[in-house]
């Protein structure tokens, strides 16, 4: 059920500001693709164009094509709401719904979309929480508020919430940047398991993390401040970290950047 993403000639704007320019890449199903690059180079913007979250920002618009198994996400008649059901997202900071319990948080996607069978809800919530490696920690307090969990648990709750709606692709925007090393490890292990079922794209500032979890790595960079970000290269993670074909990539990875 994981799907392939084919991006071609994608350019994204914030109002009149061009944030990323002419990006083309392919993301294979059932793999982890990591985006690395300096701050402000458009990694997150690019990630958000993959499930049409970019246009939620005022002034955000996109040119180019994003094919999800041969269907253009930006084609005419495509409903962004349906796109986001296929392409889920986990954010930088854990953001469980504060008015909802742990159970309700996981069930939120299904309940708010209204298409589920009540009898299956308990199973889906348990399955999602098990999938996010959180079940054993919260099974006795499913009715407690989600905001009472620790940061790492909250982030795994958000992952459970995202996978509960059974997306085909899971986008993760620096999911570990607000977490301690142990929670980070838990999430990285989880990513390893999730890639059996989903196509995963992860933005990270942590190069070891990219090296640990990803199959392919894309390096983004921008020519100068105010210039749009570009995709410098994308390749197998091993190659990027051992023998990249572009000098800038090697400079960035080895810390000789700038």
């Amino acid at each position: 059920m994981a799907k392939r993403i084919d991006v071609s000639g994608l350019t994204a704007y914030y109002g009149s500001h061009k944030a990323i320019e002419d990006i083309s890449m392919t993301v294979e199903p059932r793999s982890v693709t990591a985006f690395i690059g300096p701050s402000g180079c458009g990694k997150s913007t690019f990630l958000r164009t993959l499930n049409r979250m970019h246009e939620v920002t005022p002034g955000g618009r996109v040119e180019g094509k994003v094919l999800l198994d041969d269907e253009d996400l930006y084609g005419t008649g495509i409903d962004p709401v349906s796109v986001r059901r296929e392409v889920g997202m986990v954010f930088q900071r854990p953001n469980p719904f504060p008015t909802m319990s742990i159970f309700e948080n996981v069930a939120a996607g299904l309940r708010l979309n209204g298409n589920y069978k009540k009898s299956r809800l308990n199973d889906i919530v348990e399955k999602s929480l098990r999938g996010a490696n959180l079940w054993n920690e919260v099974k006795d307090r499913l009715n407690k508020p989600g905001s009472g969990l620790s940061g790492g648990q909250q982030q795994r709750l958000c992952i459970a919430r995202a996978i509960a709606v059974e997306p085909k692709v899971l986008l993760m925007d620096e999911p570990c940047s607000a977490l301690d090393p142990i929670s980070t490890l838990a999430i990285e292990d989880l990513i390893g398991e999730l890639k059996e079922r989903f196509t995963i794209v992860i933005v990270t500032h942590n190069m070891q993390q990219a090296a640990r979890v990803s199959d392919r790595t894309a390096f983004f960079n921008l020519a100068a401040v105010g210039q749009p970000g570009r995709l410098i290269e994308i390749d197998d993670t091993e190659r990027i970290f051992s023998n990249p074909s572009v000098q800038a990539t090697e400079d960035y990875i080895s810390g000789r950047f700038g």
């Binding site: 709401v81 954010f91 900071r93 719904f97 008015t99 939120a108 708010l112 407690k144 508020p145 905001s147």
Partner: protein, 351 residues
């Protein structure tokens, strides 16, 4: 080398002389005593003057004593603290005095009979009678005004925060701000002009319309602020789950901010409950019970207070005070209910 040994050799530079904890109370008591003495000697009759002299003496005395004992910096600190306390007392004294006066004078005739009877067969100059008709009128007018004003206000705020972009949103914001400043009599005159066009007699619902006009901007403003407090991440989290925008607003944004929105609405309700001017113009007042807000003049609590006080005899004064007490109690209960709802609905933080 122990610390005690160091202290023995020379005084610590970190510890200066300091006034004892009870010194502010002593200074306060002293200044009140001196002020009372001065007042008696100078023959000042007004206790307010005594209080002001005491306040001045307290601030000046605090500075003088603290500067002498503790040094200038601590003295300034103490003066700032005492100014805060004096300001607090200045704010609280009239409030307590008002509540006290209302309670003391209001309880005289306030009983079940008073709450359940109208002024139908009682002349304003006689004792007896009650405010049942005014309570009914107030509840109906304010209830209808809330039923109109609150939804429109909340929806306007949702438009401004969630959808509004560009010129239209700016214009709406501007006019909402202008509306906040509309004097209540002007809202009343606006509805009155409509009534005159259609040749209508005063009735309760006309008052509700004017009250709704007064209520709307307050609701819009407070709701807008509450919606802005909802973190954008929650909206994005919901949208990223494939939830449509309207459902996101309904199921995530509004529940997160419902406590604050309720408080805002209740404050607006409290504000319009005490409005007299538009009610006087549009509802006119009526000593009989009129349960129908859509036909015929009605009474309302603030209007009743105004009319009873204008009647100018002891029985009417007593009734006016009792009605004032009822009105204050009504608004206070509303506020308590709002706080209860806000606490009950607030985002949960327990583990």
């Amino acid at each position: 080398m122990s610390t005690a040994a160091v202290t023995d050799k020379r005084p610590s530079t970190l510890r200066g002389a300091s006034l004892p904890k009870w010194s502010p109370w002593a200074i306060a008591a002293g200044s009140v005593a001196v002020a009372a003495g001065l007042g008696l000697v100078a023959g000042l009759h007004s206790k307010v003057q005594w209080g002001l002299i005491a306040a001045l003496l307290f601030v000046a005395g605090t500075y003088g004593i603290a500067a002498r004992v503790e040094g200038r910096r601590q003295a300034k600190d103490r003066v700032a603290t005492s100014l805060v306390w004096v300001a607090f007392l200045l704010a609280v004294v009239p409030l307590v005095s008002l509540v006290w006066t209302t309670v003391a004078r209001g309880v005289k005739v306030l009983d079940v009979y008073f709450l359940t009877h109208s002024m139908g067969i009682v002349a304003d100059s006689e004792p007896g009678g009650g405010i049942y008709h005014a309570i009914i009128g107030s509840l109906e007018q304010v209830g209808l005004a809330t039923a109109i004003g609150a939804p429109i206000g909340v929806l306007t705020a949702i438009y401004l925060v969630e959808y509004g972009r560009g010129r239209l949103a700016q214009a709406v914001t501007f006019f909402v701000d202008v509306m906040t400043g509309i004097p209540s009599i002007v809202a009343g005159l606006f509805i009155l002009s409509l009534m005159l066009i259609f040749h209508m007699q005063p009735f309760g619902f006309a008052g509700s319309l004017a009250l709704a006009i007064l209520m709307m901007p307050v609701v819009v403003r407070s709701t807008e602020e509450m919606l802005k407090l909802v973190p954008n991440e929650l909206r994005e989290a919901s949208l990223a789950l494939g939830v449509p925008k309207w459902r996101t607003i309904l199921k995530v944004v509004l529940p997160t901010s419902i406590g604050g929105i309720t408080t805002g609405i209740m404050l607006a309700v409290a504000r319009i409950t005490g409005e007299t001017a538009p009610v006087l113009l549009l509802v006119f007042g009526n000593p009989f019970i009129n349960n129908n807000p859509f036909e015929g003049a009605q009474a309302s609590l603030p209007l009743y207070i105004f009319q009873q006080y204008s009647a100018g005899n002891d029985a009417a004064f007593d009734r006016a005070w009792a009605a004032s007490l009822t009105l204050i109690a009504f608004v206070m209960i509303l506020n308590l209910v709002a706080r209860g709802i806000a606490r009950w609905k607030a985002p949960k933080t327990g583990r």
